[in-house]
């Protein structure tokens, strides 16, 4: 038994471990979003989250992965990797793909129909994401953009597609009054929100840590551990910064903002956790939280109704994180910006087109009455908490 064999085993194990952590983001996103929407839309959001994991991973297994990493045909055919099992690296990459849609599912919630949304998920996991991935991580023409685990490739891609979706969908009924005022629609279940955000945070250790791909040497092990510490640090800084700003504004500790601040910090560090030192993540995460706090009202001003704040967390910070790589480490700002712009324009425009087509052909949005009654009954026929007496509608 030689050492390279053991390295292979160790790295395979490490990828599996990382992928499993990422998959904890499935319940993570599910609980976060189930907690943030009103009780009448909880089942629909959960169904969407379950299905998007199933659909995206399935498409990716059949052809998406091959498209992204230049295999031939289907089912990992023609994929050759070295140093670890190809099944493990596939599993790891597969764990990423549904995140692009998970990011969106909260933002389009409370009004989108599930099946049309799943249609988009097929396009995303079967074409958009594999293409963007092949340009960057797959060694294509954007390979010089540094994006460790996908501030741009995952988070902005999901964010741009979400922006397109929201523009096509329009805001929830009642979110903006006739007089143009914004009516907050509060989260229905704060423990679920917190649980979800914490599971996401934990999943991020696999997301970013695993993106080093190998842990089996001294240097690699140091790098992985540093990435994870930095990831965590940006989350801490995001939470603390959001706390401070929100407290200064309202003298209250709005937990939905604090958690969004943490998530914003985590998104921001995702591009460069490997190339910065120990203190830079504090700045990156803190700016990330600032951006979240200030972006949320801006989107609302433009009547871009994002029930969970996903645009601010994922799109804005995906961009910021990718830029931050150039500011805090030795990478070309031009290259980073070029990547951001090309991927942004591509993803936004193609997503917009597809959502318009879906809307025309099969319809995208629930009708007004069902929106009032909640999507749970119309889309799923299953109430989320049938026995509890509710007081909001």
């Amino acid at each position: 038994m030689d050492a390279s064999n053991l390295q292979y085993a160790l790295d395979t194990f490490f990828l599996i471990f990382s992928a499993v952590l990422i998959i904890f983001m499935m319940p993570g996103f599910s609980m976060l979003e189930a907690g943030l929407v009103r009780t009448k839309n909880v089942t629909a959001v959960l169904t969407g989250n379950t299905l998007l994991y199933a659909v995206c991973s399935f498409i990716y297994l059949i052809w998406g992965y091959n498209l992204m990493f230049r295999g031939s045909g289907f089912f990992l055919d023609g994929i050759h990797v070295e140093g670890y099992s190809k099944y493990a690296i596939f599993f790891f990459q597969m764990a990423f793909v549904s995140k692009t849609i998970s990011i969106m599912s909260g933002g389009v919630s409370e009004r989108i129909k599930i099946l049309p949304f799943m249609t988009f998920a097929v396009v995303m996991s079967g074409f958009i994401y594999p293409l963007v991935g092949s340009w960057t991580w797959g060694g294509g023409f954007l390979k010089d953009m540094h994006d460790l685990a996908g501030s741009t490739v995952i988070h902005s891609v999901g964010g741009w597609a979400l922006l397109a979706a929201i523009l096509v969908l329009g805001p929830r009924k009642g979110k903006y009054t006739k007089e143009g005022k914004i009516k907050p629609i509060p989260a229905s279940n704060i423990p679920l929100v917190t649980l979800g955000a914490m599971l996401l945070w934990i999943g991020w250790f696999g997301f970013n840590g695993g993106s080093a791909f190998t842990i089996s040497s001294k240097d690699a092990a140091d790098l992985v551990a540093k990435i994870i510490v930095n990831t965590n640090t940006a989350g801490l800084a995001g939470a603390i910064t959001a706390t401070i700003i929100v407290y200064l504004q309202y003298k209250k500790l709005d937990i939905t903002m604090i958690l969004n601040g943490a998530l914003g910090g985590l998104v921001a560090i995702t591009a460069g956790a490997d190339v910065v030192g120990l203190w830079e993540p504090i700045v990156i995460g803190a700016v990330g939280a600032l951006l979240v706090v200030f972006a949320i009202p801006v989107f609302d001003k433009f009547k871009i109704d994002d029930p969970v704040g996903a645009l601010s967390v994922h799109l804005v910070n995906g961009i910021w994180g990718t830029i931050a790589v150039a500011l805090f480490a030795d990478f070309s700002l031009i290259t980073q910006l070029k990547g951001i712009a090309i991927i942004g324009v591509f993803t936004f425009s193609i997503s917009f087109a597809i959502f318009v087509i879906i809307k025309k052909v099969i319809g995208l949005r629930s009708d007004e009455e069902h929106e009032y009654e909640g999507l749970d009954l119309e889309e799923c026929g299953v109430e989320s908490y049938p026995e509890f007496v509710k007081s909001k509608y």
Partner: protein
């Protein structure tokens, strides 16, 4: 003094409240109830079996008003709660013998 009880569709609550405050009726008590009537319940699913939920969520408003205000209150509620679809609800009026404001001990019309 009269008590007006109105059973309305939940999503009309804001409108009805606004209509009442517009005519300066600013005290009311509401509760969550379930109604059974001509409006049919909806069907739900559970593990591949359908079933009907026949009690529908409604809001009950209770408003104590002076005798003089009864008609305009009824009018305000009817107009603002109406969708024209079945299940819009009902208004019931009954008599109240006495009202006390706990905080001050004021009674009857002064206490409304």
């Amino acid at each position: 003094m009269k008590k007006i009880e109105a059973i309305i569709k939940p999503f009309k609550l804001e409108d009805v409240k606004d209509a009442l405050t517009a005519i300066e009726i600013t005290g009311m008590t509401i509760s969550e109830v379930k109604g059974y009537g001509r409006q049919q319940g909806h069907s739900e699913l559970y593990r591949g079996a359908e079933y009907v939920v026949d009690f529908l969520p409604k809001i009950k408003m209770e408003i104590i008003v002076k005798n003089d205000d009864v008609d305009k209150a009824i009018h305000a509620i009817s107009e603002s709660a109406r969708t024209g679809k079945i299940g819009d609800g009902k208004i019931f009026v009954s008599s109240i013998n006495k009202v006390v404001r706990i905080r001050t001990g004021e009674e009857d019309e002064e206490a409304i």
